[in-house]
Amino acid sequence: AHCLPILPPPGTEQDKDVAEMYLKRFYNLTEQRGRVFHRGVSPLGEKLSEMQRFFRLKVTGTLDSDTLQVMKKPRCGVPDVSQ
């Protein structure tokens, strides 16, 4: 029997790309490859929490619909954290 790859629900991979691009642009997320987890939290999770804290969303460190909704809103191109 050939096992087929279980495709992620539509949009998930794309949403993750949106999130990574957003966090790189506005929250100083650096390249993901080989990055060390701090206290079990990935750099992406850390930056997600930072963004959720800034926008007074539920701080989960995971990409929930409210967080994604904010990421898709038109905005200023200046980062939210000083670079």
Partner: protein, 373 residues
């Protein structure tokens, strides 16, 4: 508000600006007046003064570009990033760039209003970074408001005056209007405009804002009403969720809007008389839906009406005095909602908790019971 590291600011209050090119979306004179008006937003509350030059290098160079446009921060096509600007410094410092893949507008709420975007970007040019106050001009997310009645929010005034001080030329006898502030969930005197549930969430409306409370975490997230429903007015009178229609109805004056999920229902706003209210009723002060009876109660100050959602008719024998239906309540109802078998009637900053069935008064609470600080 926040500033850039080292509180970057201009060493002088007299600054020059130059408009290097124009967007095809608007006329030259419209862009000229918008840019001047956007700079005046900051001049009005500080000693900063702006002079336009037409050649050479100005402190603030204003330009429109797309994608890669000469700095290391390419734009991204329509929507997404609208513009960016650089904090005070020589060279590119202070410059403001606008993404011309956007549609910029002069007055209308379509496209992106150039005045609002430019006023925000010039905040960066003066040394402000982003604010996480959803009512602040320096909040990073764009939201439309009428540019003709724009008034710089208090948070932004605090930030820019932290850097440059107040405007010395303001005539004490003719001060500027009070800057708008963002309501504070922890204010013990907070009087809410309206309250409603929405598919398990709760929404508390005040002025231009509303707080959304998630059932599982109880965290209150504050947003601008216009960020979700640009067509819905601020300063609502009442709101309720109908389990019958799975819609939330928002009231202001003699109009009612309907939202389904987070979408505005086509065909609204309608007149409130479409919900059976007599034409003598000029506004509703609160509304709630009773799950057990299928009735919607419309409060009009000290009285209330009962509306049968299923039959879509007003029940006879109304209006009644609120105190007749809810013993122990006196005066005007300012907001109301039902949740988990309890009916909550708001009277200013106080909340009267009743059993929905027996109408027995259990407790008198404060707003902070819901809007956890």
């Amino acid at each position: 508000y926040t500033t850039f590291p080292g509180n970057l600011k201009w060493p002088t209050n007299k600054l020059t600006y130059r408009i290097e090119n124009y967007t095809p979306d608007m006329s030259v004179s419209e862009v000229d007046s918008v840019i001047e008006k956007a700079l005046q937003v900051w001049a009005r509350v500080t000693p900063l003064r702006f002079t336009r030059i037409y050649s050479g290098t100005a402190d603030i160079m204003v330009s429109f570009g797309t994608r890669e446009h000469g700095d290391y921060y390419p734009f991204d096509g329509p929507d997404g990033t609208l513009a960016h600007a650089f904090p005070p410094a020589a060279g590119i410092g202070g410059d403001a760039h606008f993404d011309d893949d956007e549609t910029f507008t002069f007055q209308s709420s379509n496209g992106y209003n150039l005045f609002l975007v430019a006023a925000h970007e010039f905040g960066h040019s003066m040394g402000l970074s982003h604010s996480n106050d959803p009512g602040a001009l320096m909040y990073p997310v764009y939201s439309y408001s009428d540019p003709n009645s724009f008034s710089l929010p208090q948070d932004d005034v605090n930030g820019i005056q932290f850097l440059y001080g107040k405007n010395p030329d303001v005539n004490p006898g003719d001060p500027d209007p009070e800057p708008p502030t963002t309501p504070d969930a922890c204010d013990p005197n907070l009087v809410l405009d309206a309250v409603a549930t929405l598919r398990g969430e709760q929404m508390f409306f005040k002025g231009r804002f509303f707080w959304r409370i998630y059932p599982q975490s109880g965290e209150a997230v504050q947003s601008l009403i216009k960020n979700f429903w640009p067509e819905v007015p601020d300063n609502l009178d009442a709101a309720y969720e109908s389990q019958e229609t799975d819609r939330v109805y928002l009231f202001k004056g003699q109009k009612v809007w309907a939202i389904s999920g987070y979408d505005l229902v086509r065909g609204y706003p309608k007149s409130i008389s479409s919900m059976g209210l007599p034409k003598t009723v000029k506004k509703v002060s609160a509304a709630l839906y009773e799950e057990h009876s299928g009735k919607t109660l419309f409060f009009v100050d000290k009285h209330y009406y009962s509306y049968d959602e299923a039959r879509q008719t007003m029940d006879s024998g109304f209006p009644k005095l609120v105190e007749d239906g809810f013993p122990g309540f006196r005066g005007k109802v300012t907001a109301a909602f039902q949740n988990s078998g309890f009916t909550y009637l708001f009277k200013g900053p106080h909340v009267f908790e009743y059993s929905s069935r027996s109408k027995r008064l259990y407790r008198v609470l404060g707003n902070s019971y819901f809007l956890r600080c």
